[in-house]
């Protein structure tokens, strides 16, 4: 890439826990764990007050409760998080259309072209964090750099409620003292091997040659070497340019029966369709992903006769795909993704073989729903199955997923 880019990575601080603390004053300043069943569930979020006890998200609840016996455990309220997330993403869009969502609470923003309007990237990060604090009453941290990778590391560095800029040309100086475990894809397996080779910091790895790394570590190592040099050419891909738009959520507890999966899949289809409409896209193809408790992932896809941006249509396809599946094991995660996206024809060319008519009832209904959503939030109108699933009482089994590093 010739001209330097300006990428901002925004990550909400302890997102679910912060939403709970925002909505319930008695939780503020308290150690809060958002999670489900005290023995079988996992930690979905941990407030900053509980982190010194060693509680981390994705940890089994039983372990978390042992580590922090005085922590307040709160059941998750997915709809509240979804709503806060939409508000946050709306703020992002004020500063750039180049927003790549990573999850409900995390996104990359390419603000290269926004600088002439809003000033230097650090000022943009300050402004949008202030907007989030003022309007959504939540804290966000931001990393600013020339590449996605460095921006992401920088936002982690800035947490909580801070921002860190890595100015152009200083990526190496920033990265090299950090632990190699900061590089994407270096996990519990690779780390000891690298340490055995005397590689502890990103700088240690950068000092080797890519050939040496391939030979001694494996074929993925050249990629880490490039990251360690501060090279990461991957563009920020907004929904408008994305090849697919998807939503996926992990269940709070693994689920076996199809009936419990359906409301979650329905909610995902509705969310995906809303994002399609926002980007003026339609999908030719729907893909359903199911991850079993043992982490085996299966995907099934189906092409629709005509491209659609309607949530109910996408759901009916996903539901049919689910019905066709023999579900033998407990399910940990479901995902719905819209694929083979096509942009809508801007002006309405009438067809010879179709009955002449205005926009279909579905289109008009979705337009109305989108207007309500933009004014009152995504929870204002929902189908009955989603209303049931979205409340925080016992019927609530659906839970949003907080993904690991991309």
């Amino acid at each position: 890439m010739t001209s330097p880019r300006a990428i901002v990575h925004v990550d909400m601080d302890a997102f679910y826990a912060s939403v709970e603390q925002r909505d319930a004053p008695e939780l503020r300043g308290q150690p809060v764990i958002v999670g489900g069943h005290p023995t079988r569930g996992v930690v979905l979020a941990a407030s900053y007050e509980v982190r010194p006890f060693g509680v981390r998200s994705a940890m089994p609840m039983s372990q978390a409760v042992r580590l922090a016996p005085r922590a307040i455990v709160v059941p998750p309220r997915p709809r509240a998080y979804a709503e806060a997330s939409e508000q946050v993403f709306e703020i992002f869009e004020r500063y750039t259309p180049q927003v790549e969502p990573l999850s409900l609470d995390e996104a990359f923003l390419d603000v290269t072209a926004s600088r002439s309007l809003f000033g230097p990237p650090a000022a943009i990060a300050t402004a949008l964090r202030a907007d989030i604090a003022r309007e959504v009453k939540l804290n966000a941290s931001a990393g600013i750099a020339e590449t996605k990778f460095v921006a992401k590391v920088a936002s982690d560095f800035a947490k909580p409620n801070g921002q860190h800029e890595v100015p152009p040309g200083t990526a190496k100086a920033f990265l090299h003292p950090l632990s190699v475990s900061r590089l994407w894809g270096i996990g519990a397996k690779t780390l000891p091997r690298l340490e055995g080779l005397g590689i502890r910091t990103v700088g240690d790895l950068a000092a080797k040659s890519p050939e040496w790394l391939e030979l001694n570590v494996g074929s993925g190592a050249a990629h880490w070497w490039a990251l360690a040099q501060g090279h990461d050419e991957r563009p920020v891909i907004s929904d408008r340019e994305a090849k697919s738009i998807g939503a996926q959520d992990t269940f709070e507890e693994d689920v076996l029966d199809k009936a419990s999966l359906k409301p979650q899949i329905h909610g995902q289809a509705v969310r995906v369709a809303r994002r399609l409409r926002k980007s003026g896209l339609k999908a030719r193809c729907v893909q359903l992903s199911i991850k079993y408790a043992d982490f085996t992932l299966i995907t099934r896809r189906k092409t629709m006769p005509t491209p659609s941006d309607d949530g109910q249509t996408l759901y009916r396809v996903a539901e049919a795909l689910l019905e066709a599946l023999p579900l033998e094991r407990r399910v940990r995660l479901t995902g719905v993704s819209a694929q083979e996206l096509v942009s809508e024809v801007p002006a309405a060319q009438l067809g010879l073989f179709e009955a002449p008519a205005g926009p279909s009832r579905t289109t008009r209904l979705n337009e109305a729903l989108d207007r309500i959503t933009s004014k009152y939030g995504s929870t204002a109108v929902a189908t009955a199955d989603l209303t049931e699933a979205g409340t925080a009482d016992e019927g609530d089994r659906a839970m949003f997923h907080k993904p690991k590093r991309p």
Binding site: A348, Q349, L350, L352, E354
Partner: protein
């Protein structure tokens, strides 16, 4: 195998093959041509599993045999040889040697036994026809063929023999439709019509353009079409399925009917559509007494209008059209005047030569 041939002859064969061979095929041999030398001469075959042509050429054959070589490289080579003649000789391991004057090539080929066999269409009843008429029919309809692969049946032109030795050809992309009827006497032994695929039709057009007056014949068998002219035969698979009932969408005579100088309308649409939206090419056609106005608006660019004097006495009307659809038709016909019939803003516009019912173009409006 070894033969000596005029470079121009081989060039002609390879030119014919270029449109058919697949550049990026899962079967690498399909980017090759099959060169066969027999006592009768040399033939060059190109085949993409749907369309195949065999082009025959005189040559001095020293030793019969076959090779398959890259259609692209062979064409490039034959176009840049120093002499008017060349010698092609098969070497071991499917290599071929090409010699022309001082130039020398040794080219990698593939085993000719692996080249897929073209379907033999001996059952086809071939009908002798006028190439010029068939060419006119293709030229006046093919632009309306759909390129949307999901509307498979519309990716070709409907060929329908009618009573009295006439043949109708219809093409549509669902937004516009072109219909032409011409004398093409002979019994094609068809029940109803068939659909000739776009790619095959364009290859056929190229072959017809080589020499429209030459003797040629066309026939159908099973699910394929066969075309022959001296030194060349072509076979193609037809599109399977039911072509839409096109008669139903042809409107009765429109309420508003006017005659417009064709070139004047063509030029006006062209200059005004410069400002229409890039994708939709939308222009507005407005009728008032003795006047036809074409306008275009684009929020990013501005607006444009052009007025034409026409003999018109009906009420005012504004209809939106894709200018390209109208331009395609106006560019394909030769008449000095074109008749335009309009209903209302949701009804199709109909274009045809004045007093000519044998060529009709129907264009659906746009909501503007």
């Amino acid at each position: 195998m070894e033969f000596r041939i005029a470079a121009d002859e081989l060039k002609k064969a390879l030119h014919r093959a270029q449109g058919i061979v697949e550049r990026k095929s899962t079967m690498p041999i399909l980017s090759n041509v099959l060169v066969s030398a027999t006592k009768a001469g040399v033939s060059v075959t190109a085949f993409d599993l749907d369309i195949g042509i065999v082009s025959e050429h005189p040559a001095e054959v020293m030793k019969p045999g076959q090779v398959t070589l890259s259609a692209k490289y062979l064409f490039d080579i034959v176009q840049s040889l120093p002499e008017a003649q060349l010698t092609v000789k098969k070497l071991p391991n499917n290599y071929a040697e090409i010699t022309s004057g001082s130039a020398h090539y040794k080219i990698v080929g593939m085993a000719p036994e692996e080249y897929p066999k073209l379907p033999k269409e001996e059952s086809a009843t071939l009908v002798k026809l006028s190439g010029a008429t068939l060419l006119e029919m293709i030229k006046k309809t093919s632009f309306a063929i759909s390129t949307d692969e999901t509307r498979y049946i519309l990716n070709g032109v409907f060929f329908e023999p009618r009573e009295g030795g006439k043949v109708r050809m219809v093409a549509t992309d669902g937004h516009r439709l072109c219909l032409i009827e011409r004398e093409l006497p002979g019994d094609f032994k068809l029940k109803g019509g068939i659909v000739i695929p776009r790619k095959g039709l364009f290859e056929l057009k190229r072959l017809l353009e080589e020499a429209p007056e030459a003797e040629m014949s066309l026939g159908f068998a099973e699910n394929s079409a066969l075309f022959k002219k001296p030194g060349l035969s072509m076979v193609m698979r037809l599109i399977d399925g039911q072509f839409p009932e096109y008669q139903k969408v042809i409107p009765k005579q429109g309420e508003r009917r006017l005659l417009i100088p064709r070139a004047r309308l063509f030029d006006a649409l062209k200059r005004i559509s410069l400002l229409s939206a890039e994708k939709s090419h939308a222009v507005k056609v407005s009728l008032a007494e003795n006047q036809l106005r074409i306008t275009a608006q684009n929020p990013d660019l501005g607006e444009a209008k052009d007025d034409l004097d026409v003999a018109y006495r009906g009420g005012p009307l504004t209809v939106g059209f894709n200018a390209r659809y109208l331009l395609d038709v106006l560019g394909a016909v030769e008449a000095d005047e074109i008749a335009l019939e309009l209903g209302d803003e949701h009804s199709p516009g109909v274009l045809h030569g004045p007093g000519d019912g044998t060529y009709t173009a129907i264009v659906m409006p746009m909501r503007v």
